[in-house]
């Protein structure tokens, strides 16, 4: 049985490597809470590479404008069509920033337009329960970025399955600390990351 490998997308434009600690933290949480066999280190995979199809769940983040190359666009579409899931997080946690506008535009061109994901969706109960939808981040609650708490995630669907999950909540910052520091948190803030992975592995 294949191990789950947490893969981060590398793309030509922007700063794809802006949240290097997210993978270690999520891997720690998957190993901590579940019995899912998980590779101890993450992988970095180019969006334009055939290797993309070795990782059916890929995390993509950044602050800067996103412009896919033609090869990246074709691969992302094919990836979504075949059952892959792309989890995109805006590291700026705003709704009108450069990353948001360009990434949403690119994803609409490559896959399909993003729509609001209901807060009752299965992803919010796939492992831990989030009855109010996506958990808020400290950056949102502190009023940073656009001074908004984003109440919903966005998604592009293939049938009843999420092909692209898009977040303005800046989980990249929220989860971007060393796993050893998790013990200082009263509530583990990476639990939603486990839900995303369990959803991707089961739906």
């Amino acid at each position: 049985m294949s191990e789950f490998v947490f893969a981060t997308a590398q793309y030509e434009s922007g700063d794809w490597d802006s949240a290097p600690l997210v993978s270690a933290n999520i891997i720690d949480s998957v190993a901590r809470y579940t019995s899912i066999p998980v590779a101890p280190t993450g992988a970095i995979v180019s969006l334009s590479s055939d290797d993309l199809f070795r990782f059916p769940l890929v995390f993509l983040t950044g602050h800067l404008p996103v412009r896919f190359t033609e090869a990246e666009r074709v691969n992302v579409k094919r990836f979504a069509d075949r059952g892959g899931m792309l989890f995109v997080d805006d590291h700026n946690h705003d709704i009108d920033g450069a990353f948001h506008k360009t990434a949403v535009d690119e994803l609409a061109r490559a896959v399909s337009p993003l729509t609001q994901l209901p807060n009752t969706h299965a992803i919010y109960s796939s492992f831990f329960r989030f009855p109010d939808g996506p958990p808020n981040t400290s950056h949102e609650l502190n009023g940073w970025g656009d001074n908004l708490v984003h109440t919903h995630l966005l998604a592009a669907m293939r049938g009843d399955r999420i092909a692209v999950l898009y977040s303005n909540k800046d989980y990249s910052s929220e989860w971007g600390y060393h796993p050893d520091n998790k013990r200082f948190l009263s509530v583990d803030n990476t639990k939603f990351g486990v839900n995303v992975i369990v959803y991707a592995l089961t739906r």
Partner: protein, 422 residues
């Protein structure tokens, strides 16, 4: 006196001619070629001959055969002969184990004779060279009619399959996820229990006791289903379909019904997953020590990778492939469809699918073996009759009567003239 006799003979002849003209003429024998058969049947129904011989160059349809049989039942001796050899043709349809309602068709036709398969919606398929073949067609609308130059047959499935959901058991992982996706995309209703943590399972669909009243098949994706193994083995023995994937046959209760045991790990050929033989690019567990009653379905380098066997009333397929998701994700352009079809066929091969008889209008149009039905209706063919002039030609009798009447009248007239009478 003689003149009176002659006049009497003439009047009697005229009366006989008049009676013959007015009475319904009786047919004693009739021969007809197949091209004129339709008109002849209508004629014979109004006035049945004592004997009828039909010379055919193609097998009559069911309506025509029934008509001839009715004539025979009404007293006409109906015989037939073939003006050229008629090849036996037959077609039969039955439901395939497919959630979309595919139909399996077995056809026997004259080799070299083009055949068209048509349903109520139009042309379904064609065989340019005819012959004996088995086809799997999609949904058939109404009856399936098969036409060749020398025959026309019609069939429709007599039964309908009852397909229940498929239960998928295993750990959360790519193989479980994409197996479920492939089956759902193929139209199967899927229930699943996927283990995420020791006491946590992600579930979907109707989860009931594992028995044939609930599920058509159970797919065990790995060895994490040990707690349900006894129920699964019992399910298989009682007629259920079981698909053991990868390491699932390691569970001892399932090993008892598996076609073989788990052998060594076989690596896939690098890059081959995108080739014409995509499964050679997949890693798999070889099936070691296959049982004597196992049927080996797929091998690579002398190692068995897919095998099947009967376990009492049920069917079990064991596949060593446990990373088929790589085929779907990294394969060629047709990979998604091929992966989906492969899984659907494996499940279809084992699925428990009880039959229910279907009664429909198509029952009355069914004509699956027309030549055999012709033999059953009219018996074996007889040699072609040689045309002989009938000694019971009705026009000859009329001519003789006419000559007698005319002769009698002429003689009477001569007799009267000779004796000077007017």
């Amino acid at each position: 006196m003689a003149e009176r006799v002659l006049r009497g003979v003439a009047l009697a002849g005229l009366a006989l001619l008049l009676w013959r003209a007015l009475r319904p003429p009786a047919m004693s024998s009739a021969d007809v070629a197949s091209g004129d058969l339709g008109a002849a049947l209508a004629r014979w129904t109004a006035r049945a001959p004592t004997d009828a011989h039909v010379a055919i160059d193609s097998v009559p349809d069911r309506r025509t055969r029934d008509w001839l049989r009715a004539l025979r039942a009404a007293g006409t001796t109906v015989r037939w002969s073939a003006s050229k050899p008629l090849a036996p043709a037959a077609v039969v349809a039955e439901p395939a184990v497919d959630p979309h309602g595919a139909t399996r068709v077995r056809l026997a036709a004259n080799a070299g004779e083009p055949v068209a398969l048509v349903d109520a919606a139009g042309l379904v398929d064609s065989l340019p060279r005819g012959g004996n073949t088995e086809l799997e067609l999609g949904v058939i609308t109404g009856d399936l009619r098969v036409r060749g130059a020398s025959f026309a047959a019609a069939t429709s499935p007599r039964d309908r399959l009852t397909l229940r959901p498929v239960l998928v058991l295993g750990a959360a992982g790519w193989e479980s996820k994409f197996t479920i996706a492939a089956l759902e995309e193929s139209g199967w209703r899927v229930a699943a229990r996927l283990r995420v943590a020791p006491s946590v399972e992600v579930t979907q669909g109707p989860l009931d006791a594992i028995d044939t009243a609930q599920y058509s098949a159970v797919v065990v994706v790995d060895s994490t289903a040990a707690s349900s193994a006894a129920a699964i083995a019992r399910y298989a023995r009682s007629g259920g379909g079981l698909l053991l994937v990868g390491s699932a046959a390691r569970i001892s209760a399932l090993a008892a019904v598996a076609p073989g045991s788990i052998g060594r790990r076989v690596a896939g050929v690098a890059g081959a997953v995108a080739s014409d033989a995509p499964r050679t690019g997949l890693g798999a567990f070889a099936i070691a020590s296959p049982r004597a009653d196992a049927i080996l379905l797929e091998s690579r380098d002398d190692m068995v990778l897919v095998a099947a066997r009967r376990a009492h009333a049920g069917r079990v397929v064991q596949t060593g492939y446990d990373e088929t998701w790589r085929w779907r994700m990294s394969g060629g352009d047709e990979a998604v469809r091929a992966h989906r079809d492969w899984w659907s066929r494996l499940v279809g091969a084992v699925a428990y699918a009880p039959l229910q008889p279907v009664v429909s209008e198509a029952d009355f149009a069914r004509d699956e073996a027309p030549l055999a039905a012709l033999h059953a209706a009219l018996g074996a063919p007889v040699p072609m009759p040689t045309p002989v002039e009938s000694d019971r030609d009705p026009s000859r009798t009329t001519r003789i009567l006419f000559v007698i009447v005319a002769g009698a009248l002429l003689l009477e007239w001569l007799s009267r003239r000779l004796r000077g009478a007017r």
